[in-house]
Point group: C2
Chain length 353, copies 2
């Protein structure tokens, strides 16, 4: 087990990020906490252990578990086990499990200890760090939740071995997004050079990949822990276009593929508006394509009305206008509205590069 870094977040709370050599190393570390511990899994991540820890909650896997009934289940187990305020909740899984475990920890006796063990690439580089917790409510994503950074995030690369390819690519899209947002070119170059090792999930390569990607997220969230300064929002690069595509449901690829597609649309928009360096946009688009994302996809003309409808529901709004994250160049992002005629052109017309 080695300590990777520490992030200081809202409230002066610190999250320590630890890298375990393997699952055994990780269990040993967590075993030392003794009895006042409640584990949260989902049906898939529960199978990663030969023997489940004694006090556990296993949620159904998938987004539909992010609701009040899962929250009450976790809390109810904590009460039944007689856990006190100094107990620890351990979330072991992807973003769904970690969001649920963290929300429960934030309200159990007004806040107990929290360890997150992310087991998807997306959760390692994104969901487990930053303190956002949430459940979906009345069909709306992440509508109810809290800011509650984990005390520690334990990452064991070997958990990624069993991750389905589609889930792996979900995470990888966020990694590439982080590469664009980074203040230096290290991650970007690593992605260019190490493509084969990354796609074959070489453990050592993964460690570097996760480390570099996490550093980018940390850089943004430390400056704006509760997303009130417009800095942290930049991490939503690609998500405005991406969510509209994802929620319109005509595109059968995963969340990551939508984010990749959305990021490239934002790059094109920026070029069109004279904001984004064209050579940079072309290079970044090529990088996404090299990892197999369907960047050239366009929606049908008949789907435009619905797409626009979904877009208008985005939360990043100012005076009723949706704000998009646009890139100027490496690491330099700005928030801007985009003319709807341009949006329509970008999502329907043939690619310009």
């Amino acid at each position: 087990m080695k300590s990777l870094s520490t992030t200081t977040l809202a409230n002066g709370k610190q999250t320590e990020i630890l890298i375990a050599d393997n699952l055994k190393d990780l269990s040993a570390h967590l075993g030392s906490y003794g009895r006042s511990v409640l584990w949260v899994f989902d049906a898939n991540t529960a199978t990663l252990f030969k023997q489940l820890p004694p006090v556990n909650v296993v949620l159904e896997s998938g987004e539909s578990s992010k609701n009040f009934s899962s929250l009450e289940r976790i809390l109810s187990n904590a009460v039944d086990e007689g856990l006190a305020r100094d107990c620890r909740i351990i979330g072991f899984g992807g973003g769904v499990v970690c969001d649920m475990a963290a929300f429960a920890a934030s309200v159990f006796m007004r806040g107990c200890k929290l360890t997150l063990v992310p087991t998807t690439l997306l959760c390692m580089v994104d969901a487990s760090v930053g303190g956002k917790t949430a459940i979906d409510f009345k069909g709306l994503k992440n509508m109810v939740g809290s800011f509650y950074p984990a005390e520690e995030v334990l990452i064991s690369m070997d958990t990624l071995r069993t991750l389905p390819e589609k889930e792996y690519l979900n995470g990888l899209a966020e990694v590439i997004k982080h590469a664009l947002l980074s203040q230096d070119e290290q991650l970007y170059k690593f992605l260019l050079v190490k493509k084969n090792e990354i796609l074959s999930r070489d453990i050592e390569t993964l460690q570097t990949l996760v480390t570099l990607s996490l550093a980018v997220k940390q850089w943004y969230i430390e400056q704006d822990p509760t997303e009130t300064k417009g800095i942290r929002q930049v991490l939503n690069l690609g998500h405005t276009f991406g969510h509209a595509l994802e929620s319109s449901g005509h595109f059968t690829f995963g969340h990551g593929a939508c984010v990749a597609w959305g990021t490239c649309r934002a790059l094109e928009a920026g070029v069109n508006m004279g904001i984004t360096d064209k050579a940079y946009a072309i290079g970044a688009t090529k990088l996404f394509k090299s990892y197999g994302y369907d960047i050239d996809y366009r929606i049908g003309r008949g789907d435009w009305i619905e797409f626009r409808e979904r877009l208008s529901k985005d939360k990043k709004k100012e005076k009723g206008q949706v704000l998009f994250v646009l890139m100027e160049s490496q690491g330099k992002a700005v928030l801007r509205p985009i003319d709807m005629a341009l949006v329509q052109h970008l999502v329907i017309a043939k690619p310009i590069f």
Copy 2:
């Protein structure tokens, strides 16, 4: 409307406490917030307005409303009204309404604006200030909640006119408790001198009473906003004995009467243990009696086992031992375990002073 004081709490968040001349003054202030507002009442406090504000939730009155279903009702209304993250939830009522409104505000979109309008004396001097929010869960009080200080607390003394006597005495017990915990004797002396005006709820007298009492709570919570330093716990003076009595259910008086009784038991214990100044304990006991609390009440021998059982469930524990708040003298409190034989003697035997 005049500003009384500002308390700085967890996260650097500030609560401004405002005193309104009357309900009309208060409505005018809140009216200026426009449309992005959701009001929370209970069945009794909803009747204090001639016309209810347009967007509101009316909970059943009483402790049984502090649950997940009330929470979901408030959040569901917020979603249905299309409220955004910069909306405001206004809790208008006693501790139940204010705890519910505050918990909902703390999790709606990970935190929206919050105004509390306490309409019971207890809520004015205690529940509305300090940032604790909670619901009861699986029969356990305040098991689930958050720390989320209101941005503003608006107090209008005229709301107290309709408050039932029993509820008024609930609050008054906390006021007298604050008088003992205060760093100066102003509130204590005010209670001695102004008894008639206080009991007849003279509006000007109430303003001074609430102002002095609030200042004591503020003094303690500012030093220990999230109750992690053992300072804020001192505000539980009288509550360990009091809760055990209240929850054993043999005593039909209210929460405040139990706190008054419990505070006097803690004073006696302190005298017995050589911790509390005897003259001080006698004076304070007399003060409680002068306000009509049944301080001489003792439990029957047959009820001791149950009382002890309830006591052992108290949350203020260290190494399995229940800790009691004991007074040394005016404003000086300590946390100590008490020998069970002494506890038994104090709650069963005839009063010693």
